[in-house]
Amino acid sequence: MSVDDRRRKAERIRHLLDTEGDSVHENTRVFNEGRYESVAKLDDYESLKDEARSIKEDAIERLPELLDHLTETVEANGGTVYVADDAADANRYVSEVVDGRNVVKSKSMTSEEIEVNDALEANGAEVWETDLAEFVLQIAEEAPSHIVAPAIHKSREEIADLFNEVFDPDEPLETAEELTRFAREYLGEKILDAEVGMTGANFVTADTGTLALVTSEGNARKCVQATDTHVAVAGVEKVVPSVEDLQPFVELIGRSGTGQDITSYLSLLTPPGDSPTFGGDGSDPLDDRDLGPGDDREFHLVLIDNGRMEMREDDDLRETLYCIRCSACANSCANFQHVGGHAFGGETYSGGIATGWEAGVHGQDSAAEFNDLCTGCSRCVNQCPVKIDIPWINTVVRDRINRGKDGDLDFLVEGLTPDEEPGGVDLRKRLFGNFDALARLGSAFAPLSNRVARTDVARSVMERTLGVDSRRELPEFERESLVEWFETRGSRVAPEEARRRVALYPDAYTNYVRTERGKAAVRVLEALDVHVDVPAAGESGRAPLSQGMVATARSNAEAVYEALSPAVAAGRDVVVIEPSDLAMFHREYERLLPEDEYTALKEDSYEVMEYVYGLLENGASVDVLADGNGERIAYHSHCQQRTLDLEPYTLAVLEDCGFDVATSEVECCGMAGSFGYKSEYYELSVDVGEALVDQFTTDDTADRTVVASGTSCLEQLDALLARRPTHPVRLLDGR
């Protein structure tokens, strides 16, 4: 990316933060909290997700067969099925069916994907969006910014201004109630005038030809009910085998999306059906016409391929087809919450899973526009009702984007960098992706390297050539690494007298930059009678993975396993300080290492505070640790630590030691490794971080010692707060 491109991107993000950020943040926060509350009421949340996942896995596996079955069923019911290869094919078919008649539509992202409204209007049809948010966007001539609540970026005041300007009502509209009544009446007339009702479908059952529509306003019901021609547009991936399969989805979709236990209406339509129509033909809408018999209802199911069958063959993108478009990944994402789908989205789709959709249906270029906004924080992972590994899809697509269209190898550059990537990879990605090598050099030449890096000249060059924002402080490398320190010092607990024996994993930051927390961890473990070793294992692969450098991440993972496997084989536990590296061992290594190696490392590795908790639970005495003596702490748990559900251990240990702990509710600090260093994302990163700062500067928290587990969180808090934050293990260290 050129300097100008970065500047343009930074400006665009700044503009959206200013104009849409507040509305998006307020609404997604409500959705996110609603989801936590609503799923907590389910006894069988995890098993429902497993069930939903397995139904989708099976359906996509058998998709061609199910599509045949569905076609037969719908045709036997008296409807027609058209499988469209792409958007143009779908639009041609739908335009023929509509034939210039008036159309009323309910919300459908798939219809946005194919831009059917434009095609219909070009053929002389009048098309009205009847979902109130879509109606607002139609009037405003804007694109959706959220897949479930498409006008989430607009405030009530903005909508009122828009309506008052466009419709010029006798009395200016002001409240949400007035705006809703107005739109209902306005669109009610359009529905009476319409001859064709168009909907999407959340699910389609192959066994009965039933469409499931998940709605709240009642407009989809009206669009279908009033008209005698129903056109439903849906991606081919919406097919499930049977009606019974709908049950887990019905229980999960509303909760996962807007945090409602269930939406107002779940329509099961098995067209054509015999419900009476309004027989509208454009004549006076207020006439006394009787309801028309429902016997002549016409039904067209238009199933869209548009790249999906290829996604099905793609081992990394296939999971995207399990997506039920609930928006949980968007609502749980810190970057999305702050900037919204107009930045965090492609041509049609937005949020974390959009990378998969855009890469699959519109192509890699559309995904490349926003893919960097996924920081891999993994907050979406436990929220997805079909358990899609959304960060992984983002990583894989980033890797493909890095490699470019032709994947050319530049052998000169290739020979000079230590990674496994082809020559085309962006220089900045290589810088951050090879953090281990950088840190090794920085440490070897410290403190000179730190002084040089701090100079204005160096920062200016870094900003121009690499896009490393000069407003960020760079990490300072320690001359003596943790591994070197430990080699000189040696273990202070004899193996035969030890309670446990552990290998402390020296992640690159702890090893070269924040060595103090590594030393504190060694001392704390030894105080608890643990024999510690610090093997010289390299960077976990987290750094290259976050840049989409999968091959380098794999080779790092293999090297780490080789360095740690003797300890694992000897029955020692692996203790990890940095949560993002433990998350590599527990999550991403499944995709990078052979299964047995992944399992062995996962089963024997622990976050350091989790490990201390385990020691205390198994008889070690808390008295050997520093006494908190009521010291007031404000603790921020790391995003990936939260995903692994490890926050409670740190909290319990700190409280056990006598600290008075308040915790942050903000789930992500916004720094996310290299993300906050990048000049085009610096302001977004700070915007996300400010939410955390707000929580740590209240009356109750402003005087508390700030504590955080993640390196990135510590850097962000250090930059944004006057107080210097610290890692929790340092609080336990008697020294």
Partner: protein
Amino acid sequence: MSTEPLATFESSLTEIGVELLRTTAEEFESTLAPRLDEPAVGTPLPFEGVGLPDAVETDPTVADLEAARTGVTAAGYGIADYGSVVVQGGHAGEEPVSLYADEHVAVVAASDVLPDMDAAFDRLAADVREGAGRAVIATGPSATADMGALVKGAHGPMEVTVVLLEDA
């Protein structure tokens, strides 16, 4: 039928702001009468000994539907866990009647209140296979948050009342 699903049904309905009126076939009309804001539209009720008052128009025109303040239909079953009623839309017009009026009054037999979504889908699947072309799991009034705040009553009813026939 144990009383447990009924108690759950009632508390779920309360949670979503829907009033439950308990009555019997014999008392039905007198229970309904004070709730019936006119003009009212309705569809014939399939419960033995239960009929609609004359004031309810059962063969409405489009204009009648648009003007209706109350729409009365039967609900095939209730779902206790969610406070939902399942409206099956057939040729008599249950779908438009339950959708256009300001208030939807759903009449359900106590014996048709099912405990949970699992049980509901067993019934729904059987109905669909027997040709039920249209079933709506309706939970509370229509709603939208698209205009900047939550509003009850979007395109559909603003209010829902469930009448439970305890002896049916």
